[in-house]
């Protein structure tokens, strides 16, 4: 449980940080809740860690132009309790509340979680359901990636070398929307064996928009598009939930086989839909 020797730097500005990250065997240190355990287990051994914690302004939460902007360094606790997030995209606040324990939520960050892309992390499900946009920058680029194009595989994202997650943009929820996040927590790690985030809009009693993000089931989080379509075509939630995970690869481990995970994704999609429907006005 002792990491290899490494250097540490704490840049004071974003430019300085991006300059450092442009070369060398360097890794960003955000909340350290994933990086430090990996270093202690010697699964990661960067020559240098670049701590983003001293750069002012990376953790802000603002609302403008119909979007909520959340800085990458916002902690899970901040996301969970931010009045802006709770009012404008409560699905994300609710999801944040399911992450780890209080200590982890006080340290871990939104940017760190999505950059790490643990297949069992909670946020990706919500970001997919919310159709989030992720702004990534490097010393010489600045681009925006849709959440649906961001999570490529287990621990693999669309980030290029030298790029960092700067902020996450989420559309402000309409008053007619309902949402829900249902999670099966692994009894040892607390991570999601399966997590399903749902967002729906109901008009005249009909679902006119449905977004379903699923995490934990497969090597990366995905959108259950077939189920979304069925719901938008007027299918009953049970029927739609029953196709969640169809055609998607499922993980298997000591705790839950692929079949069981897929089954859980469907059951919890149905349950999350029921919660969302009860909340949709």
């Amino acid at each position: 449980m002792i990491p290899q020797a490494f250097d540490y730097s704490a840049p004071q500005s974003l430019e300085e940080a991006l300059g450092l990250l442009a070369s060398g065997d360097r890794k960003i240190l955000a909340g350290g809740m994933s990086l430090i355990p990996m270093m202690k287990l010697r699964l990661a051994a960067p020559a240098e860690v670049v701590d983003l914690g001293r750069i002012a302004g990376l953790d802000g939460i603002t609302e403008a132009g119909g979007f909520v902007h959340i800085g990458a360094m916002a902690t899970h606790h901040t996301v969970e309790t931010s009045p802006a997030v709770r009012a404008s995209c409560p699905l994300l606040a609710e999801t944040a509340s399911h992450i780890g324990d209080v200590q982890v939520r006080n340290m871990g960050t939104l940017g760190g979680s999505i950059a790490h892309a643990d297949p069992a992390a909670d946020y990706p499900a919500a970001l997919l359901a919310l159709e989030a946009e992720i702004r990534v920058v490097s010393a010489h680029s600045d681009r925006t990636v849709n959440a649906a194009d961001f999570f490529l595989d287990a621990f693999t994202t669309a980030l290029e070398p030298g790029e960092i997650v700067l902020e996450v943009r989420l559309p402000v929820e309409q008053s007619s929307e309902g949402y829900g996040y249902e999670k099966v927590a692994h009894p040892a790690s607390g991570f999601a064996v399966v997590g399903v985030a749902v967002r729906i809009t109901r008009e005249h009693g009909r679902i006119i928009m449905a977004r379903i993000g699923v995490t934990g089931m497969g090597p990366h989080a995905f959108r259950a598009r077939a189920a979304e379509r069925l719901l938008e075509e007027g299918a009953a939630p049970e029927r739609a939930a029953a196709v969640v995970g169809e055609g998607e690869e499922a993980n298997s481990d000591l705790y839950a086989s692929a079949d069981y995970r897929r089954h859980l994704a469907r059951i919890h999609a149905r349950r999350a839909l029921a919660v969302a429907l009860s909340r949709a006005s």
Partner: protein, 776 residues
């Protein structure tokens, strides 16, 4: 001299907060890793990544050349030392030599191969990676039943077949019982491997003092004195030149009832480098290298009459031993056999143990040590029989209990149960849950398609371990009581409490016996240079054996105090009351402090009496004690996901007389938590190649606060006649009573689907599959 006599308040039975807690919860207690010494070096152990391999060569040059590294040791350096000891003996037991460091072969993942010593622990860890070991991997076997199969790889090449021992015990007439039986139920029941996971991992600091020609060994252990004797033996040094000090111990649960290679290695290294050296186990090492618990595959057959009267029990017990015997490894399953009849009065048993080597870390005592396995077995079998006969599981138990008038009761396994009232805790628990109403609710739930279960376990256990003839190194315990010249009282106990709370309960006993305030009493333990020889804390013996020793030491001392009191009061005799010696004729008294001063100043002495007020007592228990109890679990299973929700957990334990109900509740709660861990979550799993795949806390699911049900704990009190305090022991009761109650409850919930048995842990997927199977 005063003349007021205050009526003493007895503290026995009072809910008093633990004396030891303030230092523990304010972070001012000193644990092993808090120990720092000038010039202290740090050791890191190079361990085998293979479950079985030949060692072709070890190259330590690169590691030795790293900055800060002062030495690298391999078996070449330590080969002359003794082996890691096994104290248990059984006829025909095969005992592989357990070298401190592997010689030419490794036998499990984590097997120590070399030790790197450096000026700090970071440098030691980095250098350890540079030790090059050339391994030739060999086929391994990690499953005890596979290890017994034809053609299995031999864990120890000299013993193909992997059988370390077989052991047979029987009582009564098992053949007749089975031939007279109207019904026989059979079941294979496993008790999976568990990782004890003390919050504080193991650790050792060794400090060689050349001027004194002695080594001080600080170790996080449950058995300082036994460790001193055994480590001195490994090192070939005189025992009195080795001092073992036990700082605060952050949990043991049996995993520190042992002597491991590291204790002897650190003492050896300190002598070689002439500096203090520290080794603290990492969590990964704790999982792979410290003993595991359980590891049973049990085949039970229970014979009965159709009216539910049980006649006899057969058991074939396969014990996964791991690659070596640790201190008590082969003895643990024999405890299961002793307890296999549980609380029931059938007189015919037969048991066959096969102890099997596997390429895994050794198993040994873990909270309950053999008794949870036995209790789980008999309590599951009783339920299976009840289901077979369509009888109520409560009724069948009441029908078979040993009766209140039958104590002392001799079991077919040769034990003598001291005292009991087995129906009492069961009745109390059932009243608490309103059993008939629960059954009605269950019938209703079943009609609605809900899966609700009610599970009962009525456990017995064997505590106060134990009379010396049943123990390899003695089963007595010792106590010294010293009344200091100012009247303060110091107790030295040979038991080595590490969380059980004897600093509090022993102070209560002293306060009651001597009439002094509890705050005047200091209980000292865990330093072999300060405390007379003792056996230690395990097997729920600390209070039941150590407390009895204390009681008798106090009686001797009281007699002497009275002599001095009588002398000071010029009375023929005095009584002890309210912290004073009182002359009952005149009402005159002298305080304790006055008596103590007189005994030490010794200006005058009573006839034939020496100065000082110190008494030591070694107490040999005439028997074990046998606590018992009933746990009732109400559960509900989510039909769709297989999730289990424990709606109620009621524990009624009878541990004899209760000195401090607060501490007893604490023991029950902790014990139940670990029982729930086994029932629902925990399992140490090795893959086919002997790699531990539950090697981290992210995979190995310990019970956590937010997963715990509310535990409704209460008691009945049936005193033990074995010791003068009437106590029985409660350290392991919660664990022993728990797992069958949980599994019985969940199987009861699933019984409408035809489910008859499920092995632990009851993971949701396992339940879900059982539901799928049942519905198909």
């Amino acid at each position: 001299m005063a003349t007021t006599i205050s009526k003493p308040e007895t503290l026995f039975g009072k809910r008093i907060r633990r004396q030891e807690d303030p230092r523990l919860i304010t972070g001012t207690a000193v644990y092993l890793d808090d120990i720092k010494m000038p010039g202290m070096h740090h050791a890191c152990i190079v361990r085998s990544p293979h479950a079985a391999a030949k060692i072709r060569a070890i190259d330590t040059a690169a590691a030795a050349g790293r900055p800060g590294v002062v030495a690298v040791f391999t078996a070449k350096d330590t080969g002359h030392l003794g082996a890691v000891p096994c104290a248990a003996s059984l006829p025909g037991l095969r005992v592989p030599r357990h070298d401190l460091l592997a010689r030419d072969r490794v036998y499990y993942v984590g097997h120590p191969v070399a030790v790197v010593v450096a000026t700090d622990r970071y440098l030691a860890r980095d250098a350890a990676e540079m030790v090059e070991v050339d391994y030739e991997p060999l086929p391994a076997v990690a499953d005890p039943e596979k290890a017994l199969a034809e053609g299995a790889p031999a864990v120890h090449p000299e013993w193909p077949g992997n059988v370390a021992f077989t052991f047979h015990q029987e009582g009564g007439n098992i053949e007749q019982a089975f031939s007279e039986a109207e019904v026989v139920v059979k079941q294979r029941i496993t008790s999976q491997r568990l990782i004890p996971t003390a919050l504080e991992t193991r650790g050792v600091v060794a400090d060689w003092r050349p001027g004194e020609n002695s080594v001080t060994l600080f170790s996080s252990t449950q058995i300082p004195h036994l460790m001193r004797t055994l480590v001195a033996g490994i090192l070939g040094m005189p025992e009195n030149r080795l001092r073992v000090v036990t700082p605060e111990v952050g949990g043991g649960f049996g995993s520190k009832l042992n002597v491991y290679a590291e204790e002897a290695l650190m003492a050896f290294i300190s002598m070689r480098i002439q500096k203090p050296v520290k080794w603290v186990e990492s969590r990964r090492e704790n999982f792979t290298c410290t003993i595991h618990g359980r590891g049973h595959v049990d085949y039970f057959e229970l014979a009965a009459r159709r009216d539910g009267v049980m006649l006899g029990l057969k058991l074939k017990l396969i014990q996964d031993l791991g690659a070596y015997h640790q201190l008590l490894t082969p003895a643990i399953p024999t405890l299961s056999v002793l307890m296999m009849p549980g609380l029931y009065k059938f007189q015919n048993v037969s048991a066959d143990i096969v102890g099997v080597f596997t390429n895994c870390v050794p198993t040994d005592a873990y909270r309950g040590a053999g008794r949870p396995e036995a209790t789980h077995g008999i309590e599951r079998m009783v339920d299976i029989l009840a289901a077979e006969l369509a009888m109520d599981p409560v009724e069948i138990r009441l029908k078979n209990f040993v009766g209140n008038d039958e104590f002392p009761y001799t079991t077919p396994t040769g034990l003598s149960y001291d005292s009991g009232n087995y129906a009492a805790p069961l009745r109390k628990a059932l009243e608490q849950v309103d059993y008939p109403a629960l059954r009605r609710e269950q019938a209703q739930a079943r009609e609605e398609g809900r899966l609700m279960g009610i599970g009962v376990s009525t456990y017995g256990e064997i505590c106060a371990i134990g009379p010396s003839p049943s123990m390899p190194a003695g089963g007595w315990e010792s106590a010294t009581v010293k009344i200091e010249p100012t009247g303060k009282v110091t107790v030295l106990t040979g038991a080595s409490p590490h969380g059980q709370g004897e600093e509090t309960t022993f102070a209560q006993v002293v306060a009651d016996e001597l009439g002094v305030p509890m705050d005047d009493v200091l209980v000292v333990h865990g330093d072999t240079s300060v405390v007379q020889y003792g056996i230690g804390t395990f097997g729920s013996r600390g209070t039941a054996v150590g407390g009895a020793a204390l009681f008798y030491a106090l009686q001797d001392l009281k007699a002497k105090v009275k002599k001095f009191g009588a002398m000071l009061l010029d009375a023929p005799a005095v009584i002890l009351s309210g912290g004073s010696c009182v002359d009952e004729r005149t009402g005159k008294s002298v305080s304790f402090a006055e008596v103590a001063a007189a005994a030490y100043h010794a200006k005058r002495l009573p006839p034939a009496t020496e100065p000082g007020l110190v008494s030591t007592h070694f107490w040999e228990p005439p028997n074990f004690t046998f606590p018992f109890g009933a746990h009732v679990v109400v559960s509900e299973v989510d039909r769709e996901t297989g999730d289990i929700r424990i709606r109620r957990y009621v524990a009624v334990d009878d541990c004899g007389k209760i000195i401090n109900p607060l501490l007893v509740d604490g023991q029950v709660h902790g014990g139940v938590a670990q029982g729930l861990g086994q029932a629902l979550w925990e399992q140490a799993v090795y893959d086919e190649n002997g790699q531990l795949i539950t090697g981290e806390l992210t995979d190995y699911a310990l019970p956590k606060a937010h997963l715990m049900p509310w535990i409704e704990s209460s008691h009945t009190e049936t005193p033990s006649p074995v010791n003068p305090l009437g106590v029985k022991g409660v350290g392991e009761a919660g664990t022993i009573g728990c797992s069958p109650a949980v599994v019985n409850s969940v199987v009861d919930a699933l019984s409408p689907l035809g489910v008859r048995h499920l092995d632990m842990p009851l993971t949701p997927e396992k339940i879900w599959k059982a539901i799928q199977g049942g519905q198909a």
